[in-house]
């Protein structure tokens, strides 16, 4: 019985680890509605995967402050805190 439980815990933690690494931070999943996740899409909107983290952070902060003009990003950036922006940027920087 103890063996079974140990195996079960092992399974569950492997599954949990796999999900934790893949799960996007708050807000990040929505971006790919406009920012193409596929390289096959032709769009004037920037691809985010693998982009420099600091660059994404600065873009979001500038859209939010009005330093950079946006079409919809000025309105969207106002919905995110600095910590959320950092988490989203870090997550996209690590995507391939």
């Amino acid at each position: 019985m103890r063996k079974v439980v140990a195996a079960a815990i092992g399974c569950a933690s492997i599954a949990a680890a796999a999900v934790v690494s893949a799960e996007p931070p708050a807000g990040a999943a929505s971006c790919s509605g406009c920012h193409p996740s596929s390289s096959r899409v032709s769009s004037p909107v920037a691809h985010l995967a693998g982009r420099d983290r600091a660059e994404i952070v600065k873009a979001m902060q500038d859209f939010r402050s009005g330093a950079r003009a946006g079409t919809v990003m000025d309105r969207i950036a106002k919905g995110f805190t600095d910590a959320e922006i950092q988490a989203i940027a870090a997550w996209y920087a690590e995507q391939k």
Partner: protein, 423 residues
């Protein structure tokens, strides 16, 4: 016995064998079964996101149609600016991802046994179920408007043959005819949709049949992006397009398909072409599964999109009551990805984190004139609410370059979101 049923019996044997081992873990493991009902923006996006987040999940998508026909940009088809084929997508790439597609209708759900019954009687067992059924028309809610009436006065609110019917009627109409659109009370699919449609029909009439008139009879006094639409209408379609609000007698109380007449509290309008956008409700399976409330829509938990009425069943897209989020393709796709992450997390035995969601909706007022609304949402007091200070519509009085740029972005958005969901 169908091959599907044989396959499930096979699975049953495997499940029975595994019962000798650590069976309670199975439902909590990464190889859990998720069934997604519906292959629209919500369902297809969710199935793909589930597979991407946790490839060991067994994901089955139930969808009877071999081809999906997208509603966004279908107003351009009605206005003669685009072909319906540009709206259509197969599920080949979704299947190629490793998602099993059951090309049939889900007819029943047993939330206790955790199974979905398919049209042929076969049953699909699930550990978690995602319902993404879109909308159904509330036939009969508007007196005179039934399925036969829709063949004469199309709704064109589910894209496909209805879209083409409305376009053909407009093309066949003599110059000088009266076109009437009837817009419903809230809530309904695509809040700015009736007004984009009015714009693009006005654009068609202005170009091809300039002596005609377009009347929009509305069951509301206010609508999405109203000031932007009305400013553009005054500029582009003066004297051609007239919007009649609820308080000015816009509420259509009955229709007569025999004479194409729309009756309001204030009078009657006999149209040459009538587009009735009728009252709606969540797609049928929501009611069957017991996840729709008396409003006809589905109350959900704003963190996981799990039904407030049935445990283990999640509802996303137009069918859900998503608080401040509109019933749009962008919102459906956004919800699908948040729901997929929550389902994967719950199946791993953990607690989903609190999400934020975004919506962006573009509307075309003319082929080269786009406007938008955007929003950011978070769970607040059990509902999805606007994040204070965020969101809003395109600037009033912006230069035409801005409107042109938004029309270009609208098309880019369509390519991007349809590729994520189907491509």
């Amino acid at each position: 016995m169908t091959s599907t049923r044989r396959a499930f019996l096979g699975l049953g044997v495997a499940a029975a064998a595994s019962a000798l081992g650590p069976r309670p873990v199975r439902a909590q493991s990464a190889s859990a079964r998720v069934v997604v009902v519906g292959g629209g923006f919500a369902g297809a996006s969710c199935a793909r996101a589930l597979h991407q987040l946790e490839p060991r999940l067994t994901v089955t998508m139930v969808e009877p149609n071999p081809t999906f026909t997208a509603c966004p940009f279908s107003n351009s088809v009605i206005g003669g600016l685009r072909e319906l084929s540009a709206q259509q997508f197969t599920y080949e790439r979704v299947a190629a991802d490793g998602i099993t597609i059951a090309r049939t209708t889900a007819t029943a759900v047993d939330p206790q046994a955790k199974s979905v019954t398919l049209a042929d009687g076969a049953k699909l067992s699930y550990d978690r179920l995602v319902l993404a059924p879109g909308i159904d028309i509330r036939w009969g809610a508007l007196p005179g408007y039934d399925e036969a009436a829709a063949a004469v006065m199309p709704h064109a609110w589910r894209a496909g043959e209805q879209t083409l019917l409305l376009r053909r009627q407009l093309e066949a109409m003599d110059d000088g005819g009266l076109v009437v659109i009837s817009a419903p009370a809230n809530p309904f699919r695509c809040p700015p949709g009736p007004y984009e449609r009015a714009s693009l029909i006005a654009n068609f009439l202005k170009t091809k049949k300039p002596k005609s008139k377009l009347l929009v009879l509305d069951a509301k006094d206010a609508f999405s992006k109203q000031r932007l639409f009305q400013a553009a209408w005054a500029e582009l379609y003066p004297g051609l397009l007239e919007w009649v609000s609820l308080s000015k007698g816009g509420n259509v109380t009955s229709v007569d398909p025999g004479t194409r007449t729309l009756v309001t509290d204030f009078g009657k309008h006999q149209a040459k072409v009538a587009n009735v956008i009728p009252p709606q409700k969540a797609g049928r399976i929501a009611e069957v599964a017991g996840v729709a409330d008396r409003s006809g829509w589905c109350p959900i938990d704003p963190v996981t999109f799990e039904s407030k009425l049935q445990a283990g069943i999640h509802v996303i897209g137009d069918a859900a009551i998503a608080g401040a989020m509109p019933k749009s393709a962008f919102a459906a796709n956004s919800q699908a990805k948040v729901c997929a992450a929550a389902v994967a997390t719950l199946l791993a035995g953990r607690t989903p984190s609190v999400p934020k969601l975004i919506n962006t909706c573009y509307s075309l007022v003319a082929p080269d004139y786009g406007i938008s609304v955007a929003g950011v949402y978070q769970p607040t007091n059990g509902q999805l609410a606007d994040v204070p200070g965020s969101g809003g519509v395109s600037p009033q009085g912006a230069p035409r370059e801005t409107r042109k740029a938004e029309a270009v972005l609208a098309e880019a958005w369509f390519r991007t979101i349809t590729t994520e969901a189907f491509g």
